[in-house]
């Protein structure tokens, strides 16, 4: 409770409270007045902020969960182990919030169970639905040891420990499918999206950018919790993670430019239009500036620059997903969509819920300094 006296925390608590109250009011409107009462969506623009941010960004930013697992448990680079638990927690909370957010966006949320019994394997959305269900279950099992430790349920803990490696492998495969399938969703819109974003490579772009953003989130959170819990950040680990992130960003960028050239759409980069400007902003903020910083060793070992570049990568990632869902379509179809106050307030409420849950769980459970724990696999 000692944090309570800090004015800074009180300020953010006030902001958080206002956001939650507004969000709850919007929730009431959403479930009494329908989507028309709360969103700026329409027949020509049926996917907006909630799909673009709550779903696409929510899942993408949870990617740290599977990338860090791969690094620590599959590639067995044990030095990164202290980062695994916060990353799994982020991923688990991220997925829970995605499901929660989906309840607002779906027209008939009470029909969601039909996804389990009514199958259409030709649909990418079917793949997405099953990845969400299965990977959330995997994340639950990956996170369970944290709770079981606290409860001292050793028997159950040892059972989960036995299956932990197959579980991690399953999690990595499901994440690969899920992250890329969110890009595949848009493959069916060849005539509705600007060629700056539309490409047969969209699943690859979504996968690579999610890996980069997932790493950046791990860094970002390490700084946030270091500040909240007044502990030091593991700079030697985090700067390496920063470098990994930069490498994935550059790979993604190179494929994008080559693909734009091969498809004959590179001229779109030299137009003066709003969409071109937004494309440049996305690339500069999310790729060129942060990877430029992170490639310089003297910079990435400094707290300030590492923090700045991680923040930029996350911001650029959000920018990209919003561009794919909103800019690419609205510019091609000459439509205007801007999220309503209610849409924004619900999205902000989900972000606050996520931060609050992360804060509380890291406070009461053993998330950081994992190296002291033996039964963690």
């Amino acid at each position: 409770m000692k944090n309570f006296v800090l004015p800074k925390i009180t300020f953010w608590r006030a902001v958080g409270t206002i956001i939650v109250i507004t969000g709850l009011y919007s929730t009431y409107l959403r479930f009494t007045g329908g989507l028309a009462a709360t969103t700026n969506l329409n027949d020509q623009f049926p996917w907006g902020l909630w799909i673009g941010f709550d779903i696409l960004c929510g899942v993408g930013l949870a990617a740290g969960g599977f990338t860090i697992c791969a690094v620590t448990h599959i590639f067995n680079i044990k030095q990164f182990k202290p980062l695994a638990r916060p990353a799994i927690l982020t991923a688990f909370l991220g997925y829970l919030l995605v499901i929660f957010g989906l309840m607002y966006d779906l027209g008939k949320p009470y029909n969601i169970w039909h996804a389990i019994i009514d199958w259409n394997p030709r649909s990418v959305m079917f793949e997405v639905a099953w990845c969400v269900m299965l990977y959330t279950t995997v994340l639950f099992l990956e996170f369970a040891p944290v709770v079981l430790e606290k409860l001292k349920w050793k028997k159950l803990l040892s059972i989960i420990k036995m299956v932990s490696i197959p579980l991690m492998i399953l999690g990595i495969i499901l994440s690969t499918l899920h992250q890329s399938s969110l890009g595949s969703l848009f493959l069916i819109l060849p005539n509705k999206m600007s060629a700056l974003w539309y490409s047969g490579m969209l699943p690859v772009y979504f996968y690579l950018s999610a890996i980069a953003a997932g790493f950046a989130m791990v860094i970002f959170e390490a700084f946030m919790s270091a500040r909240a819990f007044k502990r030091d950040v593991e700079m030697n680990l985090l700067s390496k993670i920063g470098l990994y992130s930069a490498l994935f960003l550059i790979l993604n960028f190179v494929i994008k430019i080559v693909d734009l050239s091969l498809s004959g759409n590179i001229n779109l980069l030299f137009q003066t239009s709003q969409q071109t400007l937004l494309y440049y902003l996305e690339i500069l903020i999310g790729t060129l500036i942060p990877s430029g910083i992170l490639l310089v060793k003297d910079l990435r070992v400094q707290k300030k620059w590492l923090y700045i570049s991680a923040t930029l990568i996350v911001a650029g990632f959000l920018f990209n997903r919003m561009n794919v869902t909103i800019t690419a379509i609205s510019s091609e179809l000459k439509l205007d969509y801007f999220p309503s106050f209610y849409e924004v307030s619900i999205t902000l409420m989900l972000v606050v819920f996520g931060m609050l849950a992360f804060r509380l769980i890291t406070k009461y459970f053993h998330i950081f300094n994992e190296e002291k724990v033996t039964l963690n696999a």
């Binding site: 590639f75 039909h114 079917f126 069916i188």
Partner: protein, 257 residues
């Protein structure tokens, strides 16, 4: 094998009288949405409209694709392409994800945005009526034979014949012959189709193929991924063990000396 039914709309014959619009409303028991049918738009209670483009009128309605995008994208299979031709929707299993609306190349499906139990709404090609061997309400109502109903094969023949007989009156193509894999609503027009507001940049293949190319890779991702990750795990673990053993050997050797 049942012959697929279809609608042929000929914009050179349409006089813009609005009989199809009224007949559709009546047949589907849809409430009135606009006093002037020419100012109305497709909506949750309007399955077909007549649009004015300069000297010409055209109709807009669900195209009932041969390989529909909505059928391919719906996660729960709420859309079905019937053998007879119409594309039907089942609101009872629909989740409301609106992927059908997002992906429809003809921008047809409409949503009940104001409702708490919203359905997707669109023309059903008078499925009940045509199952009994009748024709659609709009075709019945058309006084100018601008909208006619019949077997898809037959209508394609008629359309080709019309173009051949009076090439000056027609833009020399049938819209719907193979747009996004073809449709069960065929359009004839005096001008290029984009001038009547039809999507002109559609590929010839069904759009479902675009996502199938990604979905087809799932088994290999799972297979290769599984083998690679298991192999990697085993290799790196072994490597660490060997490194540890060597370390121990060096240490114990050191002790001996």
């Amino acid at each position: 094998m049942i012959k697929q039914k279809a609608i042929l709309f000929d914009a050179t014959l349409c006089v813009g009288c609005g009989e199809c619009y009224n007949a559709c409303k009546e047949q589907n028991k849809l409430p009135a949405t606009n006093d002037d049918f020419l100012k109305d738009h497709l909506g949750a209670n309007t399955y077909t409209v007549i649009e004015e483009y300069g000297d010409y009128y055209t109709r807009k309605l669900c195209m009932h694709c041969v390989e529909p995008t909505c059928v391919s994208v719906c996660p729960v299979g709420a859309f079905t392409k019937t053998e007879l031709g119409p594309v039907l929707y089942n609101p009872d299993i629909c989740l409301g994800c609106r992927y059908c609306m997002q992906s429809c190349p003809h921008k047809i499906p409409r949503y009940e945005w104001t409702k708490n139990n919203p359905r997707v709404r669109k023309c059903v090609m008078c499925y009940d009526k045509i199952s009994k061997g009748e024709s659609t309400a709009c075709a019945d109502a058309c006084p100018a034979e601008a909208t006619i109903f019949g077997d898809r094969d037959e209508l394609i023949k008629i359309a080709k014949q019309r173009i051949a007989e009076s090439p000056d009156s027609y833009y020399p193509e049938i819209y719907g012959l193979n747009e996004a894999g073809g449709t069960s609503v065929l359009i004839l027009s005096p001008v290029p189709f984009d001038q009547l507001g039809f999507a002109a940049n559609l590929p010839k293949e069904p759009l479902g193929n675009y996502t199938m190319r990604a979905l087809d890779k799932i088994p290999s991702v799972v297979g290769v991924g599984g083998v690679f990750l298991t192999g990697m795990y085993w290799l790196t673990k072994r490597k660490n063990e060997i490194a540890k053993e060597e370390n121990d050997t060096i240490k114990s050797d050191g002790k001996k000396i």
